[in-house]
Amino acid sequence: MKAELEAIQAAALEALKDVETADALESLRIEYFGRRGKLTDVMKGMGQLSKEERPVIGKLANEVRASLTDAFEATKNALESEHQEQKLKAEAIDITLPGRKPAYGKAHPVMQTLERIEAIFTQMGFQVVTGPEVETEHYNFDALNTPPDHPARDLHDTFYLTDGHLLRTHNSPVQIRVMESQKPPVRIIVPGKAYRVDYDVSHTPMFHQVEGLLVDRHVTFSELKGVLVSFARQLFGDQTQMRFRPHFFPFTEPSAEMDITCTVCRGEGCRSCGHTGWIEILGAGAVDPEVFRAGNYDPEEVTGFAFGMGVERIANLQFRIPDIRTFYENDLRFLKQF
C-alpha cells in the first residue's frame, strides 16, 4: 500500500506539470480527490489494514494528501496569475494618447509680473492703493514740483483730454492724493496704468507702473536703499548686484536710479545693456519738501521716499519680447506662452 501511495503521488505530480488550464486542473483534482478519486480510494482502503500498519500508512497517506493539496493549490495560483497577466496585457492602451487636461487660462504676462512685484512689497508692509488715471495738471505736475515751464515736463509727452484733464503720465499723483487723505505713517504701493505719447518697439502709449511711497517721522535715504535692494533680490535673485546712481526727478531729492546687473550678460557688457553691464530698472528718491507741502505734510516733521518702476520693462527683462507692443495685441498664441 505504501508503494501504491507513492506511485499515486508521483503520478499526480507528474500530471500537474502538464496542466495548462483551470479546467484541466479541475479534472485532475477530481481524478485524485473526487469521490471516486485515486487518493480517495486508497484512503477508503485504510480500514482493511492491520493495527500495526494503520498508523504508519495513515501518516504516510496524510502526508501524500497534504503535499498533493499544496501542489494543486500552487498550480491553481500559477494558472490564475498567468491568466490575470494575459488579461492585463490585453488591456494595454496607447499611453501616448493625450491626457484629458481641463482647459485653464493664464494671467496676462504683464499682470504676472505686476503681481510678483505687488506680493514682494505687500510682504514688506506696503498697502496696495489705486488712484484715477484721468488727472489734473495739479496732481500730475504742479503738486509734484513740476511747474508749467519746467523742462522736466519735456520728459513726459502727455495725452491731454479735450475737457482740460490729462491722462496721468505716471502713478505719482496718487502720492499727493494719499497725503491729502491720510496721516503719516504711510507705506503704500500704487500699481496701475499710466500714459505717454510714445509708440515704438520699446514704448506703448499705455503702460503699467508700480509707484511706492513711505513716509514717517524719520525715514532715511539708506532705508530707501534697503527696501529697494531687498525688493530687487527677491525679484531678480540673490546673485543680482544693484547700484544706485544720482539722477533727477522734480518730485524727489536726492534722486536716484537703480540699476541691476544685466540679465542677459550678467554684467559682462552686451548689446542689451549698451556694454555697461547694468540695466536701469527704477527711479527713486527722498520725497522733495515741496511735494510734502503740496500734500499738506510738514517736511520738518516727516521724511520719506518714493519710487516708481515700469512693469513692462521689468517683465521684458525676463520675456525678451522684441516689440513690446505685442503685449497689447492679445494674440492667443502670445498669451499662451507665459
Binding site: A103, Y160, T162, T220
Partner: protein, 797 residues
C-alpha cells in the same frame, strides 16, 4: 551731449581710463550712455616735413620731395598735391601702411622715379572730405611721431545724458568741474588775452535792452577786418569729435566756445545791422524774420528778438537771422554773448518748433557770469584764426545782476536725511570742491553756503544735501531696512473681489487680455449703441496717436471683440478671453470685468474635443464669478440692448439693480467685427459686485441621515421658464428638499408640439431622521400634484 577724454583733459588733469571716467561720471549723476573710440586705424602714418622739392623729370604735375620723418635718411616721395612746398608739415603714410580709405602703401615707381611712401590729404586719411591738397600740420609738431598721437586723434567720445536740472554740465568746463568734485584737482581755464585797438566800441555800436525781464545780460564785442575761411584742423577735429558740423572759422569759434563754456554765442555781420546797433526787444505784432535755416518765421509779441535799428536780426537765444549771418564776404563781426530768461526761450522755441544747441542751454538756464569769459575767449580765437582787430572794450548791459544765493545748511540734517554719519568737515570739503562758498555760523552747527552762479538749480538745503550725497557716493550710503511701524492697512473688498473672480476665470479656461484704454469712436456704432446711449459720452483725447486710439473706453466689450477679430484673422478661433480694467464714464473710473467666448472653446484633443460655446456657457461663467464673491440671490431679466441677440441676453440683477449683462452678440455686431461664428459676451460692474460681496462663510453640518433621490420628468408649455417648477418643488418640500437639479430638457418626437419635457433630480433629506419610503412618496406625490395644478405640468412616464 558729447565730450571727449582729450578735450576734457585740457581743462583738468585726471588719470582715469575711459571706462573709469565713464563709471565715475555715471556715479556722479552724469550718465554715460555710450562710449565710442575714435579711429585708431592710422598706424604707420607719421608727422613729416618736406625738406626739399625738385621737379619730376618725366611729369609736369608731379614733384620729387625729400621728406624728413625723424629718421637718419630722408624719404623720397613723389607728390602731385597743389599745396606741396618746402617746409610744409604733412602726414606721411610709410611703406606697409593700410589706410582706412583702402590704399595700401608699397614701394613704387611713379613715371620712373622711386616713391617711398605717400604724403596724404584729409580724405586719404578718412578725416574729412577735403581732397584738395595735403593736410597741413602745425610746424610745432614733433617730426616722426605717430600722426594720431601728435594730433590727439586717439580719443574717446562719451555720450552724456545731462538731466534737466544740470545745465551747468552742458559744457566741457562744466563736466570738468564735476571731475574736480571727484578728484579735487584744479580746473585749468583757458588763458585769455585780448589785444584791442584804439577804436572805442561805444563809438561804433550800442546795445539797448528794452525787455530786461527777458534779457538779464547782453554783451557785445566788435572785431573788424576778419578774413572768413576754413577753420584749422584742430578746431574742426574738436567740433567733429563731438558731432558739431563745421561751417567757417567765425561760426566754428562760437560753437567751440559754446562747448567750452556752455555759453551760446552769436556772430553778426556788423555791416548788415541797421545803424550797426543792437536792440533787445519783444517782437511786434506781424513782424517776421528769416532765420539761418532760410525759413520765414512769423513772430508774436511774447517773443524776444535781437533787432537792429529797424528789424529783428535774430531770435534771441534760439537762432540767428539769415540776412545778418556771417558769409564769405563778411569783414566786420559783432559778437553777442548774452543771458536770456529760460521760460521765454522755451516758449518761443516750442511755438516755432526750433531746437538748437543754444536754445537747449538757454531753456535750462545759463550762467550770467560766463558771458564775459566766453566772449573774450571767442574774440581771442577769432583774431587768432581769422585775423582782424578788436575794438576797445566790451559793451555789457547787465540789468539782471543778482545777489549770489545764500543757503543755511545744518550738517546734522544731512545725516538725518541720508542715514549717514558724515563729519561736518567732510561735508564742508565736498561743498568746497563743488565750488560752493562755505562759512561757519554758530560753531559748525550751521553752515552759510554761497551758491556759485553756475549752479542756479541749488536754492534749498535739500539741494545741497543731494550734492553731498552724490559726491560722497550713493554706494557709500548704508543700506538699512525701515525702522518705523508698519501702518495697519484698510481692508479693500474690491481687491478681494478682483482676485477671486480672476482666479475663477483662469480656472475656467479663459485667458487674460489687456487692451489700451483708448478706442476708435466708431466702436459704439459697431456694437450698435443708439445715438442717445450714455456710453457714447466718451472722453476725447486732444492729441491722439491715431483715430483707433482717440477716445477713452466706456465699456470693455469692443476691445474684446477686436481681440476676437485679430485672433480670427490669424486663424486662431479658440477664443476665451477676459479683461479686468477701469472704464471712463461720467467723470468716474468704474472697475469692470468683461469676457468673450467665441469659435470653439476647450482643449480640442482626442477625448476632450472643442465645442462651440452657447448662451449657457457664458451664463455659467458669470454665475460662478458671482458665487465666488458670495451673493446667491441674483436674478435675470431679458433686455433690449442692441448689442445682443434680442432673445438671448440677460441683465444680471442684484436687489433689482443691474450689475452686469451677458448674452449672444447680435449678428450685426458679429458682422461689424467680421466674425464668422457666434460670440458670447459678458460685462460686470465690479464695484457693485464688491458692494454685494459677502465672504462670511459659516459651517453647515454635514448630513447625518441618508438622502433619497427621486427623478421627475414633466411636460410643460414650451415657453415656461425652467426655474418655475423648481420654486414650486422647494416651496412644497420645505426643509425636506435639499436640492433640485435640472438634468434634461427635451423637445422632439416623444413630446407633443408646443411642449417640452423637463427632468429634475430632487434630493429629499431630513436633518433630524431617516426619511421612510412612505414619507418620501407622499411628499413626492404632493410635489407632482402641485406642479400639475399650478403649471399644468403632466408627469412624463
Amino acid at each position: 551731449m558729447n565730450v571727449t577724454q582729450n578735450w576734457l583733459k585740457t581743462y583738468i588733469d585726471f588719470d582715469f581710463s575711459a571706462e573709469e571716467l565713464a563709471d565715475r561720471l555715471t556715479m556722479l549723476g552724469i550718465e554715460v550712455e555710450a562710449i565710442k573710440e575714435l579711429s585708431t586705424a592710422l598706424n604707420g602714418v607719421v608727422v613729416g616735413k618736406v625738406t626739399t622739392i625738385r621737379p619730376h623729370p618725366n611729369a609736369d604735375k608731379l614733384v620729387l620731395c625729400q621728406v624728413d620723418i625723424g629718421e637718419e635718411d630722408t624719404l623720397q616721395i613723389v607728390c602731385g598735391a597743389p599745396n606741396v612746398r618746402e617746409g610744409i608739415f604733412a602726414p606721411v603714410a610709410t611703406i606697409g601702411t593700410d589706410l582706412p580709405s583702402g590704399i595700401s602703401i608699397k614701394r613704387a615707381k611713379l613715371r620712373g622715379e622711386e616713391s617711398h611712401g605717400m604724403l596724404c590729404s584729409e580724405k586719404e586719411l578718412d578725416i574729412s572730405e577735403d581732397a584738395a591738397g595735403l593736410m597741413e600740420l602745425s610746424s610745432d609738431l614733433p617730426i616722426g611721431t605717430g600722426f594720431t598721437d601728435a594730433l590727439g586723434l586717439d580719443d574717446t567720445v562719451f555720450e552724456l545724458e545731462i538731466t534737466p536740472n544740470r545745465p551747468d554740465c552742458l559744457s566741457l568746463i562744466g563736466v570738468a568741474r564735476e571731475i574736480r568734485a571727484e578728484t579735487g584737482n584744479d580746473i585749468k581755464l583757458p588763458e585769455v588775452n585780448v589785444q584791442e585797438d584804439d577804436t572805442d566800441i561805444r563809438e561804433i555800436t550800442s546795445v539797448t535792452i528794452d525787455a530786461p525781464d527777458l534779457c538779464p545780460r547782453y554783451a557785445a564785442r566788435v572785431i573788424r577786418g576778419v578774413k572768413i575761411g576754413d577753420s584749422p584742423t584742430w578746431l574742426k577735429q574738436r567740433l567733429e569729435s563731438v558731432g558739431i558740423g563745421v561751417i567757417n572759422n567765425i561760426v566754428d569759434v562760437t560753437n567751440f566756445v559754446l562747448m567750452e563754456y556752455g555759453q551760446p554765442l552769436h556772430a553778426f555781420d556788423y555791416n548788415k545791422l541797421g545803424e550797426n546797433r543792437i536792440v533787445v526787444r519783444r517782437a511786434t505784432e506781424g513782424e517776421q524774420i528769416t532765420t539761418l535755416d532760410e525759413e520765414e518765421r512769423k513772430l508774436t509779441p511774447e517773443m524776444l528778438v535781437i533787432a537792429d535799428a529797424t528789424k529783428p536780426v535774430a531770435l534771441a537765444g534760439i537762432m540767428g537771422g539769415y540776412d545778418s549771418e556771417i558769409t564769405e564776404t563778411t569783414c566786420d563781426v559783432l559778437l553777442e554773448s548774452a543771458n536770456f530768461q529760460p521760460s521765454s526761450v522755451r516758449a518761443t522755441a516750442k511755438a516755432l518748433g526750433i531746437h538748437t544747441e543754444a536754445s537747449y542751454r538757454f531753456e535750462r538756464g545759463t550762467d550770467p557770469e560766463a558771458v564775459i569769459p566766453a566772449i573774450d575767449r571767442a574774440t581771442q580765437l577769432i583774431v587768432e584764426l581769422a585775423g582782424g582787430t578788436v575794438c576797445q572794450g566790451t559793451i555789457d548791459v547787465y540789468p539782471g545782476k543778482c545777489e549770489l544765493g545764500q543757503i543755511q545748511l545744518r550738517p546734522e540734517r544731512v545725516n538725518f536725511i541720508l542715514g549717514t554719519e558724515l563729519e561736518a568737515t567732510e561735508i564742508k570739503q565736498i561743498l568746497i570742491r563743488l565750488g560752493f562758498g562755505v562759512d561757519t555760523v554758530q560753531q559748525d552747527n550751521i553752515y552759510q553756503i554761497t551758491v556759485p552762479t553756475f549752479r542756479r538749480d541749488i536754492t534749498r538745503e535739500i539741494d545741497l544735501i543731494e550734492e553731498i550725497a552724490r559726491v560722497h557716493g550713493y554706494d557709500n550710503i548704508p543700506t538699512t531696512l525701515p525702522k518705523g511701524d508698519i501702518p495697519v492697512p484698510k481692508p479693500n473688498i474690491l481687491v478681494e473681489v478682483r482676485r477671486r473672480i480672476k482666479n475663477y476665470l483662469l480656472a475656467s479656461g479663459m485667458m487674460e487680455a489687456i487692451n489700451y484704454s483708448f478706442c476708435h469712436p466708431n466702436c459704439f456704432d459697431k456694437i450698435r449703441l443708439p445715438e442717445d446711449n450714455p456710453l457714447r459720452d466718451a472722453l476725447k483725447l486732444q492729441n491722439p496717436l491715431s483715430p483707433e486710439m482717440s477716445v477713452l473706453r466706456t465699456t470693455l466689450l469692443p476691445s474684446l471683440l477686436v481681440n476676437a477679430q485679430h485672433n480670427h484673422n490669424h486663424q486662431i478661433d479658440n477664443i476665451a478671453l477676459f479683461e479686468m480694467s477701469t472704464v471712463f464714464l461720467n467723470g468716474e473710473e468704474p472697475a469692470r470685468i468683461a469676457g468673450i467666448l467665441a469659435g470653439e472653446i476647450g482643449v480640442g484633443v482626442y477625448g476632450n474635443p472643442y465645442k462651440s460655446p452657447d448662451f449657457f456657457d457664458i451664463k455659467g461663467i458669470v454665475e460662478g464669478a458671482l458665487e465666488v464673491c458670495g451673493p446667491t440671490d441674483w436674478t435675470y431679466a431679458i433686455t433690449d440692448e442692441p448689442t445682443f441677440h434680442p432673445g438671448r441676453n440677460a441683465e444680471v440683477l442684484l436687489d433689482n439693480q443691474r450689475i452686469g449683462i451677458l448674452g449672444e452678440a447680435h449678428p450685426k455686431v458679429l458682422e461689424n467685427y467680421e466674425l464668422p461664428y457666434k460670440a458670447y459676451l459678458f460685462e460686470l460692474d465690479l464695484e457693485k459686485l464688491a458692494d454685494a460681496a459677502d465672504f462670511s462663510k459659516r459651517f453647515e453640518p454635514i448630513p447625518i441621515y441618508p438622502s433619497v433621490l427621486r427623478d421627475l420628468a414633466i411636460v410643460v408649455e414650451h415657453d415656461m421658464p425652467s426655474d418655475l417648477p423648481i420654486e414650486i418643488i422647494y416651496s412644497t418640500g420645505g426643509d425636506l428638499v435639499e436640492s433640485v437639479r435640472l438634468f434634461d430638457v427635451y423637445v422632439g418626437d416623444q413630446v407633443q408640439e408646443g411642449k417640452k419635457s423637463l427632468a429634475y433630480t430632487i434630493t429629499y433629506h431630513s436633518a433630524t431622521e431617516t426619511l421612510t419610503d412612505k414619507e418620501v412618496n407622499d411628499l413626492h406625490d404632493k410635489v407632482v400634484n402641485r406642479l400639475n395644478q399650478e403649471l399644468g405640468a403632466e408627469l412624463r412616464l
